[in-house]
Symmetry: C2
Subunit: 533 residues, 2 copies
Amino acid sequence: MRLIHLLAATALASAPLAAQDTPPPAPEFARIVDEGTNRSQVMVLAQQMTDVLGPRLTNSPAMRRAEDWAVAEFQRIGLSNVRKDGFDFGRGWSIERSSVRMVTPRPVQLTAIPIAWTPPVNATAPIIVAPMEKKEHFAAWRGKLAGKFVLVSPPGAPKEGTEPAFKRLSGEDIAKLDTYREPTWDPARNERTLAASTFEEDLDAFLKAEGAVGLVRKSYRDNKLLHGEGYQHRTGAQTPGIEIANEDYRRLARLAAMGQAPTLEVVSDVKFDDSNPQAYNILADIPGTDRTGSYVMAGAHFDSWVAGDGATDNAAGSAMVMEAARIIRASGIRPKRTIRFALWNGEEQSLYGSISYIEKYLARRPAPAAPQNSEQNYYGQTWRYPVTPLPGYRDLAAYFNIDNGSGKLRGIYAENNSAAVPILREWLSPFAPMGAGSVVFGRTGGTDHQFMAAVGLPAFQFIQDPLDYSSVTHHSNADTFDHLKPADMRQGAMVLAWMLIKAANADAPLPRNPIPRQPLPTDPFQTPDPNAE
Amino acid sequence: MRLIHLLAATALASAPLAAQDTPPPAPEFARIVDEGTNRSQVMVLAQQMTDVLGPRLTNSPAMRRAEDWAVAEFQRIGLSNVRKDGFDFGRGWSIERSSVRMVTPRPVQLTAIPIAWTPPVNATAPIIVAPMEKKEHFAAWRGKLAGKFVLVSPPGAPKEGTEPAFKRLSGEDIAKLDTYREPTWDPARNERTLAASTFEEDLDAFLKAEGAVGLVRKSYRDNKLLHGEGYQHRTGAQTPGIEIANEDYRRLARLAAMGQAPTLEVVSDVKFDDSNPQAYNILADIPGTDRTGSYVMAGAHFDSWVAGDGATDNAAGSAMVMEAARIIRASGIRPKRTIRFALWNGEEQSLYGSISYIEKYLARRPAPAAPQNSEQNYYGQTWRYPVTPLPGYRDLAAYFNIDNGSGKLRGIYAENNSAAVPILREWLSPFAPMGAGSVVFGRTGGTDHQFMAAVGLPAFQFIQDPLDYSSVTHHSNADTFDHLKPADMRQGAMVLAWMLIKAANADAPLPRNPIPRQPLPTDPFQTPDPNAE
């Protein structure tokens, strides 16, 4: 409804000019809204990324096709310097087919998915329920796992879904986000997490050494949802692994407890692809008129997990980024600063793509002593200080990230950058009638702006209506195109395009906080992310 | 909390007797609560019915095992005259394994289930999206379906889950149920439904005649839930049929619309079993001291669909009925009237078991002109008047049904029987502190008390907390033992046991309304069932 009013108003504003021979161009804001509303391509882009390209696990054959598609699409839109920017990642992996059945004591076709980067298996074997959540639990099961599918998760009980699965933020919800929290660092907790960070590899090696046929994990959502995340992308796991839906997993565990010893028949027809260990960020520019090297940037991670088609996480953000580029090009607006668009890769395994960009072009932090797995890479960032700016550090005038599903943009997190708050508020103000006018002081984490902010750059993520992102689609097999909201996606692309124009054409770059010397308040272990589950 | 207070109170009441040598028996209510709380077997029974026996599709091999188990269990509890009471039903059917994959344009393992009573198939073929919801739609697709998997459902869009999936009733919710609605019969609507009632068979025959490889239907719940209901239990369908999860179905339909022509690989390894067309209600008695033939009865349908284990629909009610029998036997209370327990069969296909019991023992209604399919059997009941009572009509003094999931009993529907309201209220009053004290004037339908009430018998169904029955578990692949709530189930069994004792020992049988001469207000097409989805 608000959108209709706004369009009516802009149409009215340009009406008196209709009689002139060559009307002056409409105001920039109206051109963005016209292009983003009446000639939107955001859902076409999102459908290509999901229905057609499918899940985009980093370095999988599907992601290779997606990378090529994105390069071609940015070129088609008319962007410059479209390039693949590589970084070391690991192996490719994909699912060809899978089937998991209980064959005794009675036949049941179970709801299950192979775990990413585990090897294939085609076997029938009994199960054993052996919950293991830390290395200290291994001893109890030594010598008991050979020839078995090992159920490593505690069975648990279903959650009572007393909150709606689908939500939009009220003004009150947004106001709650605008709360300053004083930093409360806990380096000991960080150390404990890092000490436990090899558990997935340790469990894999233990099961291999014990001669287990496979690892079986429980889903973390009820009602038959599946995910299949796995993190051994560098080497691949040694033990085949599957995730089973909660209802089916708990039935197996109960039958085992009754002495009925279920037998599973598992077909996990999956493939590694070692043709290229490099993953690629896709970068593309709209060159600015100012040749000082100063630029602004929008980014979203393009990679996904494999259970669904990576629609809300994060074809949504990727399509909004690409559509913002198209809108700006189509609007004919010439930016002063260059506008760069990034589709990040390897985000799901711990922001590898954006960290690679930071370390190549923006700032260095002390390197870790040894190669890092996903958890080490993520949690290990917390205490990697001091920050050493690279020559490109000052050039990045603003970074905007989108990665919280397809929900309408409601505003932006200012990342504790108090001087930026009034400027962001002014820039967003024309979108207040479309619900996107809020600027909150605080921070959010878990995606690609995070470590830019951690090195002191003006990097921001938008506030979005959560919809069913946390409750249903995030990483799940229900993350498909039909869960995207077209009107929300159109709004998001317009807001992003507008913010990029404002940042690119601002007289001065956004103010910055001092270069941080310690973790920021919403780094891991500081404050909870209200959008995270 | 209320339960603890209640138990404390009853313990206190019997305390002064503790010093006597042979204390008199505790009050009947306290004995029911003690047995049902401290030595409950209801979850043990429910687990046998679900984890061990599995889904209990009428006449399937699993249901044959379940029937034998129920007979043995009633005998073990010490009931008399335990018997299988047969009626004509149709074919047995079961799933051995199934797999549905999209193989082009890219491989995706889909979430799918065979539709009950469809024949097996093992084929790879292209799809065609051909929505057909009534016979008039067939003409548009004639000649276009040969060699194809035919997607017959409109793809639709996901619902926004803005209501909590899991609910308990507030006092206000229950008060809303207590609303009288004047009957508003619409025989023309009934005739229209009956005229459309052969659509499933018609579509099946059309697809067979056209040479379709199989029928593909969309699920009716989002987020990967499946059901697999099918109604051609008399003859079996001619065309193989599968139900595909909404997210997967919509992707197929979208790709087809883009001209990408997906190909499906379908394995539906299902089996018919024609060893016995009879289905069986399981009946068992606790004989009364009064030999007049008057009896009271509790019932729940024991059959289920096949996607889950039929836990909330309706191992829950079946286990509460069986546990009520056990509690009464263990309590040592001798009923004046006989108490009969019924586990109905064929309920899911349209209350076949309870209708068979009515027509054999209670009352006759005009027979239909031709054999009836499920829809005809259900909707055709609406105008089958007059009612001719059989000799057993007066003997049934009260019937109590349970079939709305595992939620706590909150009260009872009085089925417009105003004279029974104060009596039911008095009987339930000791359970008010456990939340079950409400008696509402109105009716509810859709389960086995319905056609007893339709012939004027004092037959009632309880009000239950809905939990996630309508939103998630009802008929779905998430209908498993872990979705049952043990404390609720214990409460339900105690309430049922108590109501049976009160009805069996009441001086006079419950008052009745006049024998109906036309449909009652909540018969089909009258008032909506607040518990139905």
